[in-house]
Subunit: 334 residues, 2 copies
Amino acid sequence: MTTGLPMAFPTEGLPARVRVHEVGPRDGLQNEATLVPVEVKAEFVHRLADAGLRTVEVTSFVHPKWVPQLADAERLLPAVAGLADRPGADAVRLPVLVPNKRGLDRALALGARDVAVFASATESFARANLNRTVDESLEMFAPVVARAREAGAGARGYLSMCFGDPWEGPVPLDRVVGVCRRLLDLGCDELSLGDTIGVATPGHVTALLTALNEAGVPTGRLAVHFHDTYGQALANTLAALRHGVTTVDSSAGGLGGCPYARSATGNLATEDLVWMLHGLGIDTGIDLGRLTATSVWMADHLGRPSPSRTVRALAGRSTFQDVSRDSRDSHKEQ
Amino acid sequence: MTTGLPMAFPTEGLPARVRVHEVGPRDGLQNEATLVPVEVKAEFVHRLADAGLRTVEVTSFVHPKWVPQLADAERLLPAVAGLADRPGADAVRLPVLVPNKRGLDRALALGARDVAVFASATESFARANLNRTVDESLEMFAPVVARAREAGAGARGYLSMCFGDPWEGPVPLDRVVGVCRRLLDLGCDELSLGDTIGVATPGHVTALLTALNEAGVPTGRLAVHFHDTYGQALANTLAALRHGVTTVDSSAGGLGGCPYARSATGNLATEDLVWMLHGLGIDTGIDLGRLTATSVWMADHLGRPSPSRTVRALAGRSTFQDVSRDSRDSHKEQ
């Protein structure tokens, strides 16, 4: 990235710094068909840390029957735990997903200092994903979050289907606000608002954040988690930044969002996000070149190209001069 | 689109209506490897009109040696000209690109009422694309634009490399402003600001539009033409809308931007744009379902899937219920 691109244009009304919550090793690999060896995963997490990411969601302590891709959680977490002990600003937060009290106990026993629970804003998805009502799932999470906080761990609450639901269609704002309030009351210190099927648009994002503020939820407790299923993730992120959100979830190389797979969840690619943030003059601490190299390396392991547009644009082109041949050919003598 | 998605959230400070300038038949097909028969192109333009597009850039009167994909311009324009005579608000503008005076004469002889010239903000691209300096290319366009206006035709000026250039890197704002002023002085009634290599970010867009305003160029004369090479096109469009831009270029199905082609220019897909605009409560007059069906039909002709995320998300799924199976599978018991 010695080309001077993207040019940085600091923009009024946007945060000076954004924390990227990297979900590639967990949310990304969980949704990939290929089983990745634990050694490769550990190297992946280390490479992400070396590229400047300071929050890397590592794995999930779910029952291996449900997510075989993450069955190695008890070997992976110790293999990367040293990153959390790096000095000062180099320390990396390594949250793990815990589906229930048993999962939490396993995670805490391995020294986890940040955990996350995964709730749904809609009854349909709570039923499909957790085989529970929303109330029942929150009852299940209550002792998990309480125990985590007692142990001094951070507790993030994921909330899926915050904008649209595949069964129910549009999701009313007040429905989302209600579940958010309850997750905070349980003791979650951060909420990640998920657009699980990728249907949100920027005005919807602003409307939801405003409704949450009006219900007493401060923006500082909120992260956004957009999927690029309809290509809206980055525009939605821009709307969230304008509202003051400073924590954004994304997946290195767009892992988990292979565009031609039926099961694509379409995670926002960290590289596409970082290109925009750096163009806006927003500090992330991330080295885009090292991050892209990491995603290319992981794509090689998975045997398919990264769905990230920025990775595709930068990979294999040592300088911007390489781009010139394409532009010249395609626009010749228009 | 009977699902109620995207939900419409009209947003303060955005235009009530946007005119989409559809470039698929020209900019899109020009950059596709497959040669499309003229009958198919004519049907494509008609289908786009029937989907509600009211500006469809049809073709280019360039020498066939340079762009064999558009060598049928003299057969295609008469085959679609009737669309321009539809009554009232149903009339479709059918601009064509003209590289020089000879191309203009051919276009006017066939009844073209809107033409466009294609200039560059940078010397490197003017040299590569037109084998001329910027000055020489503007001298070449001067009589073209003058003659077009005398004949009562609209004259659009495309300006490429407005943000970054593959040889020169970052492009200074004042360089772009200077060429814009000269294109307006030639008589262009609209300028399309092109991010030909897709490197722009939203703050850069706002900075350029502001600089143009300060130089006396009103926003009402400006259109934006973003490429999705780095995934930024829609976020950049949002920034332009906030600045008051009401004309946005895009390509149905993302034609011309196949993500795995080395020659990809990465046109913003019209469907991804329309999803966002409708979500923002902005009127486009476009039927997204019919447009998506048109892009799927064209993708079949080209023998490859559309690179538009919205097309991929909607195509082959008769209802949103179909999405549910994917979400359920991929998130099962997190």
